[in-house]
Symmetry: C2
Subunit: 409 residues, 2 copies
């Protein structure tokens, strides 16, 4: 087999596991016969367009560094949110990119990211196909805490975030339980369109059986009136009501609940920039019930809290990276690495490739059967789906009382 | 020695270590010859006044439960914020309390809490002295994440919060480093009058040398103009500026920076209810620099994140509880258990008792020499003071992928 060079980039929002996927990919690529140099693009394709690359072979010749990389949060190579244009329209940027590929003698292109990164893989594949370029494999490598990619059972990164959210929510529930004064605590959790992260708050109930009172996902239309009814019921039973809400809650007319606290900023992919549903509901509940109300926005900690990693998630992330290299070497292109659960009582996953055109720009939401009829809790089936993903505590390397991070200088 | 009964309560804001102190106290009291029954007051003196108590001897006959208690965040016995009146004035509530002590045959009264709880110990001692009651020992047992009690080198609970803050801030710094677009991230940290918690953000720099750009403590007058100057300088060097601010920042005229976002609510002790300095500064920086600005409020997670405990802190918390029992049995009263560092290169502490009248209602602030001249960073001396307190990771008992909590039913 002719040896070719490979390049890998990270894109989209950082997660606590995206570097583990990179670590698995580096380890496999450095050991692979068919790969000569492995380049890293710094800040995704945006950096690549500026020639901002680094040779990973020398940087990670010491395997200890790969281990540190696996426990480091956020994207070590840097990230970007650059959206490529239609490859059949304005092709200037594609010509630039493919010239760089030629210059670097790239045979394998890996992009680790979520929905928007799969859009990049899809467009690069389409452009290559339309221009009869067959000597580069484009492989999408999934990561997203949102767990919203279709075709795959779940996404690397989700398990660690879910473990952090479930643990933090359980701790918040304990914190709220100390006083006897009626109070409502709102925990605001990420998830613009899919409620997977918010759903993981339900797992807190598995710690001594005390979890949140209600969980509201973006999949169901939100209603202030029903929220007030729910809270009234809960306050009648105990004074410390805790609810988990998704940042993406919308009313039946499509208006975001958090919009009242917003100034209508959109990101490069046209997604509305959200935050503030907790603060908006805090005021509404205070006005209605006159009791103590507070909101806790878990914020970016839920995506970067690498001090509490799910061992299952990190092992799968490492394997996802390794499987990306295998897929590339076997000639796959325009695909994303997916996981499916094997049948049987024991949780086990296997990897496969799915065409990225079936994945890009699609969103896998929490299915209706994972929510109860009142749309204020998740079902046992949903718990059974999530629970295996948070199992195990990934052992970390500590120094001076703090976890050690790998930093690319 | 005649066996007497003892009673213990928890008061004030919950912490991740207050139950470890309780666990140490229970273990010592159950093993002590001089103590017969150990009662727990539920929700502090407020619960005690309603006869809301529980016998801890039977509840914790299984030592495994004491271990679980030590790793459980928040106050397992419940808390309250009840302020006692002047014991030389309105004495009705004191008569009630001392009648209860007589009924329960209490010889030792332990109150685990912060500044306000030491006020309770002080007033109970004063009342007893004024009324020639000499058969009850009143012992203050310190806990506060704020680390603001005088006489003691530091307080149980601070080390674990500092470890969580330093780790989380390091993760936030990594998260912020992934993009190239100029951005300012504000991390809002607890601490109304003392900046110890905010100062711990500096320890993040010990993880790979990359920490926050600036740290603003409530001990120094805050100035928007100087903040803008600082940020301008930092943005000239790198695009991802991260600053740590205390919730208690004030301008030279005494006005809280966070007050703009507040509605002037006060708690039972007359402390102004604060939150929102992050949001207020976020808007000001956005208006000034026009760049991306976000604020992360670590919120109650910094006081209840028991999944990341400092082993040093938990061991000292356990010892503090045990020392409270020793002090009581040796006849001390109206005192608080304090720690001092032994001299020498190796970090070691020893315990002693200090009169609670020298402690109650006083605040130990971060000394001026722990801040740099510009009042936007802490010094190496400050780092050296904090670093031993976050050492070691306390091993937890996990189940179903989550840490197990002890819950008093």
């Amino acid at each position: 087999m002719k040896r070719k060079n490979a390049i890998v980039g990270q894109s989209g929002g950082p997660t606590a596991a995206i570097n583990a996927t990179l670590a698995g990919l580096i380890r496999a690529a450095l050991a692979a016969d068919g790969i000569d140099l492995l380049y890293g693009m710094q800040h995704g394709i945006e950096g690549l367009l500026e020639g901002n690359t680094v040779v990973l072979n020398t940087l990670f010749s010491d395997s200890e560094k790969i281990n540190l990389l696996a426990q480091t949060p956020a994207a070590a190579l840097g990230s970007c949110r650059r959206k490529l244009p239609d490859p059949h329209g304005e092709t200037c940027v594609f010509e630039q990119l493919f010239a760089i590929f030629e210059e670097y003698e790239i045979g394998y292109f890996f992009y680790i990211g979520g929905n928007d990164s799969m859009d990049t893989i899809q467009k690069l594949s389409e452009y290559a196909e339309a221009h009869d370029i067959h000597d580069i494999c484009f492989i999408g490598v999934p990561k997203t805490i949102d767990n919203d990619l279709v075709m795959t059972d779940h996404t690397p990164g989700y398990g660690s975030s879910a473990k952090y959210i479930a643990t933090s929510v359980a701790e918040i529930v304990r914190d709220c339980a100390v006083y006897t004064v009626p109070a409502v605590t709102i925990v605001e959790i990420m998830g613009r369109d899919a409620g997977w992260l918010t759903a993981s708050a339900a797992l807190a109930g598995r710690i001594c059986g005390q979890g949140v009172d209600y969980i509201y996902l973006p999949e169901a239309d939100f209603s202030d009136a029903r929220l007030f009814e729910d809270i009234e019921k809960a306050l009648a039973v105990h004074p410390n009501v805790v609810i988990a809400v998704s940042e993406g809650l919308r009313y039946a007319d499509g208006i975001y609940v958090g919009e009242a606290g917003q100034n209508g900023v959109f990101d490069a992919f046209g997604h509305r920039y959200l935050s503030g549903v907790g603060k908006v509901l805090e005021q509404k509940i205070r006005d209605r019930f006159g009791c103590k109300v507070r909101s806790v926005e878990i914020n970016i900690l839920q995506r970067c809290a690498a001090h509490l990693l799910s061992a299952t998630d990190i092992h799968e992330s490492l394997q996802t990276g390794a499987n990306a290299v295998c897929a590339a070497l076997s000639g796959e292109s325009g695909v994303m690495i997916c996981m499916r659960r094997k049948s049987g009582a024991l949780y086990q996953t296997e990897f496969f490739c799915a065409p990225v055109r079936q994945i890009a720009n699609k969103i896998r939401k929490v299915p209706a059967e994972y929510q109860n009829k009142q749309k204020n809790q998740v079902t046992e089936d949903c718990m059974d789906y999530m629970l295996p993903l948070i199992q195990g505590e990934f052992p970390l390397c500590w120094k001076n009382g703090l976890p050690v991070h790998f930093v690319l200088k």
